[in-house]
Amino acid sequence: MALNWEVVWEYRAALADGLKLTLDLSAWSLVGSLALGTLVGCLGALPGYFTRRLVAAYVELLRNLPVVVKLFFLYFAVGLDAMAAGYLALITHQSAYVADVIASGFRSVPREQSEAALVLGHSRFQVFRHVLLPQVFRLVLPPLTNQFIEVVKNSAIVMLVGVQELTFQAQNIESETFRGFEAASVATACYVLIALAIAGGMALLQRRLRLA
């Protein structure tokens, strides 16, 4: 089979648009799922049976629904526009995983940390803000890296409601020119580069925050 890379060049504008949309979707969904997941994870770390059960229910429900089901529900049933449904599906889906990661981070900080701070006279909020949260963020950086990469990969599903992101454009090239291999190669390279950039950035952050 003769490869024809010119087709990629021909479609460069479409691919660039697709990549831009993928980056846009990924970045905002990443920020959103981090914020929402951290909030839910912190609630799960609060004392109290009720909040813990509520958070567990949130995590289980959202984690057990395929992200595409969420997308279809938000797009077809709720009637959001395609981009909004995409953002919301990606954010809620990943926030469940992030919440779980954050909650387990809280569980792995030794009990003495908050006890020592409470005895010194700190308020519960101060203990949370100055003692627990900074430690939790250091602990969860490695598992969060995987979560962030997952967001980028999942972003491809929004093509199913017509958002013309990277995977959509690659498939479009295939259907218009039958050059599926070339198109898919470019899309693959883009996803790999984004994932590497995330992993690299997180590794850098980890080194900066490393416990000396």
Binding site: P110, E112, Q113, E115, A116, A117, L118, V119, L120, G121, H122, S123, Q126, H130, V131, P134, Q135, R138, L211, A212
Partner: protein
């Protein structure tokens, strides 16, 4: 006579169905050193934790520094900060250097300026002999040094009572002495101390009173010299035999 700085009257506590403190009566005079000993699971740590409010008793009354330890007293952070506590381990904040470990509470609880807090921190580090470790991370310190920093961190708050919950139990043998030396100095300075420990040498030397607990009860309490000369109870005699002759 002045009111004892710590006074337990008929204190009981349960964890679920298990009773961990049974009808505890205890009086600690200001400026005295009390060592609490006994087999593991006898309620020693729980008793300490009741003094600083980490646990709440379910029956009886606890008065500390002349104040009933009720919900109102326990939510008074400035009051609580008058009681310092040193744990067995894991209590230094690993994400902060020694200086920040020492200045966080003075700044956030006492409202000191960073400069004033640092001045106090330096003084207390000097007191525990670690002036050169101001800029160190906790993970760069030995276990003994970490415990001394933990003591300094409690002292920075200028507490009136210091509680020690097995401060040397997690240490390598060669580091125990440096921690006990700091505690002996503190005892000589007139600090009120309640110490849960198995270090009977320390108890013999530094304690005024010894409290022996078993199964949530105070089995015996006596002046340290009397206790070590001849424990009154058979149970305490056996305990001392076991830990002095292993």
């Amino acid at each position: 006579m002045a009111e004892p700085i710590i006074a337990f009257a008929g204190v009981s506590k349960w964890f679920g169905k298990a009773q961990v403190l049974r009808d505890i009566d205890l009086a600690v005079e200001a400026g005295s050193v009390v060592v609490i000993c006994g087999p593991s699971g006898s309620g020693k740590s729980t008793l300490l934790r009741c003094i600083c409010g980490l646990e709440e008793a379910q029956a009886g009354s606890i008065r500390v520094m002349g104040r009933q330890l009720d919900a109102k007293a326990l939510s008074d952070r400035a009051f609580r900060a008058n009681i310092g506590m040193v744990f067995q381990r894991f209590s230094l904040y690993p994400h902060m250097k020694v200086l920040a470990n020492l200045t966080l509470a003075p700044r956030k609880v006492r409202g000191l300026s960073p400069g004033a807090a640092e001045e106090r921190a330096r003084a207390m580090l000097a007191r525990v002999g670690l002036s050169d470790k101001l800029e160190a991370w906790p993970s760069q310190l030995s276990g003994g040094q970490q415990q001394r920093v933990a003591i300094a961190r409690a002292l920075v708050m200028e507490p009136r009572i210091m509680l020690f919950d097995e401060p040397t139990s997690a240490l390598d043998p060669e580091m125990i002495r440096e921690v006990l030396d700091v505690m002996r100095d503190l005892a000589r300075s007139g600090m009120t101390m309640a110490v849960v420990t198995h270090e009977m040498g320390f108890a013999r030397e530094a304690a005024d009173r010894v409290v022996f607990m078993d199964e949530g009860r105070i089995v015996e309490q006596a002046d340290a010299s009397a206790f070590f000369a001849q424990p009154a109870s058979e149970r305490a005699r056996r305990f001392l035999d076991n830990i002095l002759q292993h």
